[in-house]
């Protein structure tokens, strides 16, 4: 089965489930994706009536992690009289994971949510395609026969689908939203139970072979062009602080310039704050205007918490995230000890 037929099937399912949810009055609103105004990007859409269900789409351009709209809840999701509205969320694996992780951080009440799950087949690495196309204007993008076709005024190019997937999608192990026994009525559509996820983290261990100097150079060179626009933060479903440390000015902890030190510090602390929380959706990389891929840093975080605390974010709302808990006996090999 080609990617295009698979997408069509997913899309039809989303529409069917959404329609049912409205018919059975189980949700007030549904948030999903619609065809974007730009060719290389689908857009989020919030629908509140049956007729609009037809606007929902699924394709490999749906980068946005929709969980972002729920914490904090955007005004549209709150009614003056009824309070929090019941929201159906069109969920690929990482959106489901984000919702569940947010629930484990007590930011979200899953009872007000319906996870419209399906098994995701990945999103395209938009940055890479744009880089390959260069200055030319893209007018149409579609996936057919496992190829990504990009059309413009006087060119038509195709890229192998597997290779041009978002880096995090290539290693994704949670294609459908995770579910536990207690969540069975939160999830409609295709969800899956993951008891634990095995991952070899080869990509990370390759990097670990480098010397400190090489690592510094590598990370520095890949982040050098960061303009500190904070789009990565804005797109991330886990970044919901009222006041981000970079915006804080009492005290001013870190510089706000694009000096190497400031950039590195921003990304180091962003990573620190994502430990055990990043759900690997790749939204941050998809939105970066200068094409920085935060993939490796996010993978490293996943690897650390998996190795140290046997934790994978967003699988079970009952399990406390590692940075919210502690244990008496724990490996502390990094501590300074007498010889």
């Amino acid at each position: 089965m080609g990617i295009d037929t698979e997408n069509q099937e997913i899309e039809n399912n989303i529409k069917k489930i959404s329609l049912n949810l409205f018919k059975e009055n189980k949700v007030d609103l549904i948030i999903g994706y619609k065809k974007g105004t730009l060719p290389l990007m689908a857009q989020p859409i919030i629908i509140d009536k049956e007729e609009d269900v037809d606007k929902l789409v699924w394709n490999n351009l749906c980068y946005v992690n929709l969980a972002k709209y729920l914490v904090p809840r955007i005004p549209k999701f709150v009614d003056a009289e009824k309070g929090n509205l019941r929201v159906g969320v069109v969920s690929k694996g990482c959106v489901g994971r984000a919702l569940i992780h947010l629930a484990s951080e007590k930011q979200l009440n899953l009872e007000e949510i319906k996870i419209i799950g399906f098994s995701c087949n990945g999103v395209i690495n938009r940055q890479r395609i744009e880089q390959e196309i260069g200055q030319k204007e893209i007018r149409e993008v579609f996936v057919k026969d496992d190829k990504i076709h990009v059309k413009g005024k006087d060119f038509e190019l195709s890229f192998p689908y597997e290779e041009y997937l978002n880096e995090l999608c290539k290693v994704c192990k949670v294609k459908s939203p995770p579910i536990t026994a207690e969540l069975s009525d939160v999830c409609v559509g295709e969800c899956q139970e993951y008891s634990s996820i095995s991952d070899d983290f080869n990509d990370v261990s390759d990097f670990e072979l480098k010397t400190a100097e090489e690592k510094w150079e590598y990370v520095k060179n890949s982040l050098d062009i960061c303009t500190r626009c904070y789009a990565c933060r804005e797109a991330c479903p886990m970044c919901y602080c009222n006041l981000c440390f970079v915006d804080q000015n009492k005290p001013v902890w870190f510089g706000k310039t694009t000096d190497t030190s400031d950039i590195m510090v921003f990304h180091l602390i962003r990573a620190m704050h994502m430990a055990g929380r990043c759900v690997g959706c790749g939204a941050c990389s998809s939105v970066c205007p200068v094409g920085i891929d935060l993939y490796l840093i996010n993978r490293k975080l996943e690897e650390i918490v998996k190795r140290r605390y046997e934790f994978t974010s967003g699988l079970d709302p009952k399990i406390l995230p590692p940075m919210m808990s502690y244990e008496m006996e724990e490996s502390e090999e990094f501590m300074l000890e007498e010889d």
Binding site: A212, W216, D259, S261, L268, I269, I304, E337, E338, D339
Partner: protein
């Protein structure tokens, strides 16, 4: 804040690293005190900041120290189980574990930022570990990575 230039710093054989040390009030600071009153020798490389608990040590303190040009950072708290606030050091340990790995991922040499436990009765151990931390940082040379030059 440094008068020496980068070159003179690193080429200087008897260059002495400057290490900022965050010591918890109840154990490590008292341990340092004990080392002092017992006249145990340790290098004068550390400058101590007293904090209520190792759990008070925000990762920002550590990173900020590096951007401010300290050559090393040392954080010391009570042994697990001895925390005055019961679990402050356990919370801190997780934070440090992750910060430590991330620092190394970003290319900070292992040993520039050190973590240790020392109780109020361990003046000897405190001095010994400060000696060790100093020699590690001395080997690594001046911190020139995160330091903000202007």
């Amino acid at each position: 804040m440094t008068v020496q230039t980068e070159e003179s710093k690193s080429s200087n054989e008897d260059w002495k690293p400057k290490i900022i040390a965050f010591l918890c009030n109840w154990c490590s600071y008292a341990g340092a005190d004990l080392a002092g009153v017992s006249r145990i020798q340790y290098p004068p490389s550390i400058r101590i900041v007293r904090v209520p608990c190792s759990g008070r040590v925000n990762p920002y303190f550590i990173i900020k120290s590096l951007t401010d040009g300290w050559d090393g950072v040392l954080i010391s708290g009570c042994h697990p189980g001895d925390c005055h606030y019961l679990t402050g050091n356990l919370v801190a340990r997780r934070r440090f574990a992750i910060l430590n790995e991330l620092l190394q991922f970003f290319g900070i040499e292992p040993g520039r930022v050190n973590f240790m436990w020392a109780s109020a009765a361990e003046g000897e151990r405190f001095a010994m570990l400060v000696r060790k931390a100093t020699s590690i940082v001395k080997k690594l040379g001046p911190n020139n990575k995160f330091e903000k030059k202007w």
